[in-house]
């Protein structure tokens, strides 16, 4: 990436839902014109009310709209945009899309394509991080080509192991293997899944940690060789590898461990020429050892908890850095205050195995009050489309300490009113998780929800 400054005057948002609205707000705060790109399913979406211009790019199917690179770039050029913000998901980590933007003279708001390519491939990412001195789980840096080699490796590192897609992401394309007898089938299945999902069947094998916490570091780097971390987030509350609750800082971790995690992430970012906002994901075991998992080369769903404890608007920083501006501050200028927690309220039915429960929202009244933030694109009368992911709203709260933050979150979720024919949400399930003593006392790990039943619900003040 060149270090020259390029003013961003108009940005096309190549995304939808709450993140499109979030990016639009950051653009407006920065004096940047907003072009919304929407599919047929999103023509009435909230971002279109905030945007200076909306361009209809394709039918609901993402492959023909939000994943349709030529249409998005064409729309950006037609609207006179000088940059594209990809949000998260869709094309946000597609290095070829970043290249295509550059070829069309557009600033891609994200890391340079070459960096994204190297870090997006888990094999080369692991190699790069090992070279930068970051600890990895025992296993292979290189992809493992055959089930036979995978079995030899698994014996060497010890069971359980996890087989992961090299190109994977979003918690998909991986499988845990507990016994040697399951390995050949698991290898074949993961390879086939990876090829189907990501068009790349390569997999690697590493030791699987059963009682780990998912802790990630937010980094922010400019194009001039400067980078800072914005603290850690704990995202251990996951259901089938999908995050449900995130918080910053990570609770019950020693400061010295957090210092080592953040130091490792900044070292890894600077060693690979990272530019922009990025997340380094780690697993932390009960003994306080940590291992690098992967880098997410984009803004993340859970970025607001970091914003709440640092006071730094991450999306505005992305736009500044993409325009070539220096960060203008150092690590010592980043101050952390209090605790922030985020809950993802999805349009899913917990009683029907979290099946998507889309429909028209006849009632949508988000919670409010001090230190409560709701990032959502939904409103009363909004039709939740079935074509996309089910994230409806992110409720984020801040408080001076964790206990008060969790109490505030419980009240906020209780206050949240969402209704409509056939519409179900995860709000009540989230309340039950918040009330779980293992979570409340920060004794949980990534398996908290494996055997979690809604019957453990304690209702908090609703009756």
């Amino acid at each position: 990436m060149s270090t020259g400054r390029r003013r961003l005057s108009t940005v096309l948002i190549a995304n939808r839902g709450e993140i499109a609205l979030r990016v639009a707000r950051a653009c407006r705060a920065s004096g940047i014109r907003v072009v919304a790109a929407c599919s047929s399913a999103d023509r009435d979406s909230a971002v279109t009310r905030v945007a200076d211009r909306t361009i209809h790019i394709g039918p609901p199917k993402a492959r023909k709209s939000y994943l349709n690179a030529p249409a998005l770039i064409q729309a950006a050029l037609m609207a006179g945009a000088d940059g594209i913000h990809p949000g998260y998901g869709f094309l946000s980590e597609d290095a070829d899309f970043a290249d295509a933007c550059a070829a069309a003279g557009l600033v891609f708001v994200g890391p340079p394509a070459a960096v994204m390519r190297r870090l997006g491939d888990k094999s080369t990412a692991r190699a790069a991080m090992a070279a930068a001195g970051l600890p990895l789980l025992p296993g292979a840096v290189e992809p493992v080509p055959t089930a036979h080699e995978a079995a030899l490796l698994a014996t060497e590192v010890g069971y359980p192991v996890i087989i992961k897609s090299v190109a994977g992401g979003g918690g998909r394309g991986m499988r845990v293997v507990h016994h040697p007898g399951e390995l050949a089938d698991a290898f074949a299945e993961t390879t086939a899944t990876a090829r189907a999902l990501f068009g790349d069947g390569r997999v690697y094998v590493e030791r699987y940690l059963a009682n780990a916490r998912h802790v990630e570091v937010q980094v922010l780097c400019d194009g001039h060789g400067h980078g800072v971390h914005l603290g850690v987030r704990d995202c251990s509350v996951q259901r089938r590898r999908q995050k449900l609750i995130e918080e910053s800082p990570a609770p019950a971790l020693p400061d010295t461990l957090i210092d080592r995690l953040t130091g490792a992430a900044v070292r890894g970012a600077l060693a690979t020429g990272y530019v922009g906002a990025g997340t380094f994901e780690f697993l932390v075991d009960p003994a306080g050892r940590f291992s690098f998992m992967e880098v997410n080369c984009r803004i993340q769903v859970e970025h607001p908890v970091t914003e709440m404890v640092t006071g730094i608007d991450l999306v505005s920083e992305q736009l500044r850095v993409a325009a070539g501006e220096p960060l203008g501050y150092g690590q010592e200028d980043v101050r952390f205050t209090g605790v922030a927690v985020e809950c993802r309220v999805n349009a899913e039915d917990p009683d029907r195995d979290f099946a998507p429960a889309a429909g028209v929202l006849t009632e949508f009244v988000p919670p409010g009050g001090p230190f409560v933030r709701v990032d959502t694109h939904a409103y009363t009368g909004y039709r939740v489309p079935a074509a996309y992911d089910s994230l409806l709203a992110k409720v984020i709260v801040w408080a001076p300490g964790r206990d008060t933050a969790l109490a505030r979150m419980r009240h906020a979720l209780t206050e949240f009113r969402i209704g409509g024919p056939g519409v179900h949400t995860t709000a009540r399930y989230l309340s039950a998780v918040l009330a779980d003593p293992r979570f409340a006392e920060a004794r949980h790990d990534t398996h908290l929800l494996d055997d979690f039943a809604l019957t453990t619900t304690t209702n908090d003040g609703t009756e």
Binding site: S40, I55, H56, I57, G58, P59, P60, K64, S65, N68, A69, P70, A71, I73, Q74, A75, M78, D96, A100, A104, A114, R117, R118, D121, S123, T124, R126, A127, A128, A130, A131, G133, P135, L136, L137, P138, G139, A140, V141, E142, P143, V144, P145, T146, E149, L153, E156, V157, V166, G199, D200, G201, R202
Partner: protein
């Protein structure tokens, strides 16, 4: 002419493996490369044998990149569009329903992508259709260009061109009405 080449990618190979050696068991590089090549060969074979040939193709797996290009034989865009041009705005089956229905109803041919609408294959050429022309189902009646991809606009039914709604060179969005077709 088809040109298939294999070249190493531009990714850096880390030089300092000392730390990693303690923690990981590196696989023989040769087997990894073989796996990549197998993967690439499968992918290319699939692409060459299915659907219309792309003008340029880039396949990348880790450190290895394969680029395939088919040099332009003609200036005129050839081959069917990669996406159906009869998709209408909200449901894919609307067009079929309309096409099945007899009668004098006027139907609208819409843009299948955001882009620039052209009425003729080149600036000097005659337009594909003029008002009053009869068209058969599937006949090309225009082009929408998006990022140098020339996507044919086709009549989704037989009929008479009643009205052409957009000028040559107009920027259009997905679903924009381009022309009206009346009874044949």
């Amino acid at each position: 002419m088809t040109d298939v080449g294999l070249s190493p990618g531009t990714g850096d190979v880390p030089g300092d493996w000392d730390y990693a050696r303690d923690l990981v068991f590196a696989q023989p590089a040769a087997s990894a490369v073989r796996a990549v090549l197998r993967e690439a060969a499968d992918t290319v074979a699939t692409l060459l044998t299915s659907g219309p040939a792309p003008a340029r193709l880039s396949v990348r797996a880790g450190e290895v990149a394969i680029e395939v290009s088919w040099p332009d034989r003609t200036a005129v865009p050839a081959g069917p569009a990669p996406t159906s041009t009869v998709d209408t705005m909200d449901t894919a089956d609307t067009a079929d329903t309309v096409a099945e229905r007899p009668g004098p109803d006027v139907t609208v041919v819409t843009a299948s992508t955001v882009g620039v609408f052209y009425r003729a294959p080149s600036p000097e050429a005659d337009p594909y259709v003029r008002e009053g022309d009869h068209v058969r189902q599937g006949q090309q009646v225009g082009i929408v260009e998006a990022m140098k991809l020339m996507i044919p606009v086709e009549a989704d039914r037989a009929g008479t061109v009643v009205r052409i709604l957009r000028d040559n060179g107009d920027e259009v969005e997905y679903g924009d009405a381009l022309m009206e077709l009346g009874a044949p």
